[in-house]
């Protein structure tokens, strides 16, 4: 019985992230539009876009290899699995014992690997420029993300997300400076990884300034749908991570009665809403930075993660 309900909860989470991801993107866009005094498209527009793209014919460059076709599905699959592992409305899910925070980093890294290869595959200069910039950003964002993972693991004596959340949920955690530093670091990494302003601009038409968009310029139809869906899932994943680890309010635990799961879901949706509005406001208030400022930006994230670990060691009194 317990096994069945575990499967059920995990299954619900997998579907829930799929169902909510486009909505989060839609809400961010809506918030930005409203702040610009535009009416903006409906928050459901990303669903319609995905449907439209899936129905459309995929136009593929003549010199594209199998990799170009396969990459969108690999990207989508890796991101979906990563999103299913993230803490959403309940901790202690089935899969979370099979994969830890480092596995999430690795899954996202694999997705990016295929994305950059696909950008290079068709041989256009924009794909190349996008891939090169993406790798530059990734080479700084991934270490920073690992620092975040290490700090949290040190705190929880485990890299398992469920254990980490148990720690942050417990009153014993208190106010910790290292957690605050890790939070800032994770937010910076999330902005860079999701191609948001100030690192990249998801809404630009300027080919020469693109990072993520430049890599996917050649994609169309169902392939583009997979990539866009993957990008929406990734945004949701980062919001879930930040919300789940740092604000584990209302999250259901393994073995809780059913109503707790519904409370957890409500809290999760509320967290996503806050995250989406905050992102929209932040993106409206800031201009995009020069490409070569990105290393400084992410260097800050890396340094914060590093300091958080050091602080943890020092405060415990043993190295």
């Amino acid at each position: 019985m317990a096994l069945i309900s575990d499967y059920l909860v995990q299954g619900v989470q997998m579907l829930l992230v799929l169902a909510l991801a486009p909505l989060v993107t839609g809400v961010v866009r809506k918030v930005k539009a409203r702040l610009l005094r535009r009416r903006g498209a409906s928050v459901w527009q990303p669903y319609r876009d995905l449907l439209r793209l899936i129905r459309k014919e995929a136009v593929i460059a003549e010199n594209a290899s199998w990799l170009f076709r396969a990459a969108p599905y690999l990207i989508f699959a890796a991101t979906w699995v990563a999103a299913s592992l993230a803490p959403t409305f309940a901790s202690g899910l089935m899969f979370s014992w099979a994969a830890d925070l480092i596995a999430i980093v690795a899954l996202l890294g694999s997705a990016r690997f295929f994305q950059t290869l696909a950008g290079l595959d068709i041989g256009t200069s924009f794909g190349g420029i996008g891939s090169s910039r993406e790798v530059m950003i990734a080479s700084l964002a991934e270490p920073a993300l690992l620092m975040v993972a290490f700090t949290l693991s040190l705190l929880a004596h485990s890299t398992q997300l469920s254990s980490i959340i148990e720690v942050t949920q417990s009153p014993a955690v208190g106010l910790r400076i290292s957690l605050a530093m890790v939070l800032v670091s994770l937010v910076l990494v999330a902005l860079a990884e999701n191609a948001r302003i100030p690192v990249d601009n998801p809404a630009t038409h300027l080919e020469l300034t693109m990072v993520h968009e430049a890599m996917v310029l050649e994609y169309s139809g169902r392939h583009l749908a997979m990539i866009e869906f993957g990008a929406a899932l990734k945004l949701l994943l980062y919001m879930s991570l930040i919300g789940g680890i740092f604000v584990p309010v209302g999250m259901a635990r393994s073995g809780d009665p059913w109503p707790a799961y519904f409370v957890g879901m409500g809290a999760y949706v509320a967290k996503l809403g806050v995250g989406a509005v905050a992102l929209g406001v932040f993106e409206t208030a800031i201009a995009k930075m020069r490409v070569f400022r990105v290393p400084e930006f992410l260097g800050g994230a890396l340094m914060l993660g590093f300091l958080a670990i050091l602080l943890l060691f020092v405060s415990r009194g043993h190295l």
């Binding site: 610009l36 200069s125 420029i129 100030p198 809404a203 038409h205 400022r293």
Partner: protein, 508 residues
């Protein structure tokens, strides 16, 4: 201004220029004088334009208060290149070669410019020969070096903008060279205007560059009125000024937001976009067309300003006065935006002086020239225009020139609304100074981008016998190539938007 004696005085035979009314007289000269002039260009003697017609090449020059057009007859179809001594003439000479077949001897770069071999005809303005429109490949300048690669951009862009091709050679992110290829928007407007009745030619002139339709129509009208010796009623002159300032206001507001938007700072774009829209709506209420196309005609204006339009303009000006300072504050105090615009795409003062670059590109790099003040055509003869000048030459300076000009335009519009005399708005054209069957006129008019030059020859029957126009972008595009060097590729859109050069106006 340099210490050497004024050059053009020798031609005009006048010791002191006639500063009250600047007329572009045309003087035929011999090859020796041509060479002498070419050598002096760029040292206080500005090249205003260069164009050809069958068997002759013309050059419009400006020095201090003096303005002349010199003509070198070249029945053999060859003339000594100006570009070999004065780089700003190179593209003009390439265009002359494409359109008329006149060969500039010694031109350092003789590749075609406007002609992409798609017209089905060669040298359309002189010895038009049919050729196959097979689009010959264009030899881009060779680039050599370790680790360099090229990025071709355009002519079709991801945004809704005009067509132009940019060939970047980059080393990683750093731009080593930018080479532009233009001419995609060539419509053959000069050829269409030739032989057309003045009214029709005026409509064509207003379509050379849609965003500067008022400036072009005004330049054409002033040139025609000079050729025909016509008097324009006072009210028409003031209405023309009003339209010109509304056009400047709308374009500058749009530009300021668009530049911020290229740094992904969309909120400024949204707000200036709203202000621009209000200006366009007020223009529609006042003159019946959002861009005021076809409202300026030779002899006056086509539509009078009613009380309703006057109120709409006054209300818009009042609204912009209230809102605009807040937007300027946002622009100036957003650090992330300032970080992008300050020090980006620097244009050096020596470049703008050599190229005689007008508009915000020139004024942002220390060149104060403004045709409204220099030519002082009506109604600016009785208004004060103080061009804002900055020294830095970067994107930020070009934005600030626009900001100051917006403020100035608001003041000018107020003055114009106050002063507006009550006269007829249209007068019949004169018959010229009885000099012969054909008469000529030229005008320099300040568009929002810079000085538009228009030259026209009118027949006694009131048709255009020949014409030439030069967009300010002819002397701005080349500086964009220079300004992005050593910048990074990702900053090009920002530099480009701050230049906002015309494609259609340039390509003609």
């Amino acid at each position: 201004m340099t210490a050497r004696p004024p050059f053009l005085a020798k031609l005009t035979g006048r010791a002191e220029p006639d500063a009250t009314k600047r007329r572009w007289r045309r003087y035929p000269i011999d090859p020796a004088a041509w060479d002498e002039l070419c050598g002096a260009l760029g040292t206080g003697l500005d090249l205003v334009s260069l164009w050809g017609e069958p068997g002759a090449v013309h050059m419009a020059l400006r020095e201090g208060d003096e303005a002349v057009i010199v003509t070198l007859p070249c029945p053999s179809g060859r003339y000594p290149s100006v570009g070999r001594l004065h780089a700003p003439a190179v593209r003009l000479e390439r265009a002359v070669q494409d359109l008329t077949g006149l060969v500039a001897e010694g031109l350092p770069d003789a590749r075609p410019w406007l002609d992409h071999n798609r017209w089905g005809v060669r040298h359309p303005l002189w010895s038009a020969e049919p050729v196959a429109a097979d689009g010959a490949p264009y030899p881009f300048l060779p680039v050599e070096g370790e680790g360099l690669h090229q990025i071709p951009v355009g002519p079709v862009h991801a945004g809704v903008i005009e067509p132009g091709h940019f060939r970047f050679t980059v080393n990683g992110e750093a731009v080593v060279r930018l080479e532009q290829r233009l001419g995609y928007a060539h419509k053959g407007t000069a050829a269409l205007m030739t032989g057309a009745p003045l009214a029709h030619a005026g409509r064509l002139a207003g379509r050379i560059s849609g965003d500067s339709t008022v400036a072009y129509a005004l330049a054409f009208a002033l040139a025609v009125e000079e050729a025909t010796g016509s008097q324009v009623p006072d009210r028409a002159q003031w209405l023309r000024g009003l339209m010109a300032e509304l056009e400047r206001l709308a374009n500058h507001l749009g530009d300021i937001g668009a530049i911020a938007n290229d740094a992904a700072f969309a909120i400024l774009h949204a707000h200036t976009g709203m202000l621009r829209e209000q200006v366009l709506r007020a223009s529609h209420t006042a003159f019946g067309h959002r861009l005021m196309m076809d409202r300026i005609v030779p002899g006056g204006v086509a539509q009078d300003l009613a009380a309703e339009g006057r109120a709409a303009i006054a209300a818009t000006v009042g609204h912009i006065r209230r809102v605009f300072p807040k937007l300027v504050e946002v622009y100036d105090e957003t650090n992330s935006l300032q970080d992008r615009v300050v020090g980006t795409g620097v244009v050096r003062p020596e470049w703008v002086n050599q190229f005689a670059t007008g508009g915000f590109v020139g004024r942002a790099a220390g060149r104060a020239f403004d045709a409204r003040r220099w030519a002082a055509y009506a109604p600016y003869h009785s208004l004060t225009v103080e061009p804002p000048v900055f020294e830095q030459g970067d994107v930020n300076a070009r934005v600030w020139v626009r900001i100051r000009e917006v403020e100035q335009s608001l003041t000018l519009i107020d003055r114009m609304l106050e002063t507006l005399p009550s006269d007829p708005i249209l007068a019949p054209l004169g018959s010229g100074p009885a000099a012969g069957p054909e008469t000529e006129g030229a005008a320099l008019v300040e568009s929002f981008r810079g000085d538009v030059f228009f030259w026209v020859r009118v027949t006694a029957e009131g048709r255009v016998a020949a014409c030439h126009f030069r967009d300010p972008s002819w002397f701005q595009w080349p500086l964009l190539e220079a300004a992005v060097e050593a910048n990074i590729v990702a900053d090009f859109p920002l530099c480009n938007k701050s230049f906002n050069c015309a494609y259609s106006g340039h390509d003609g």
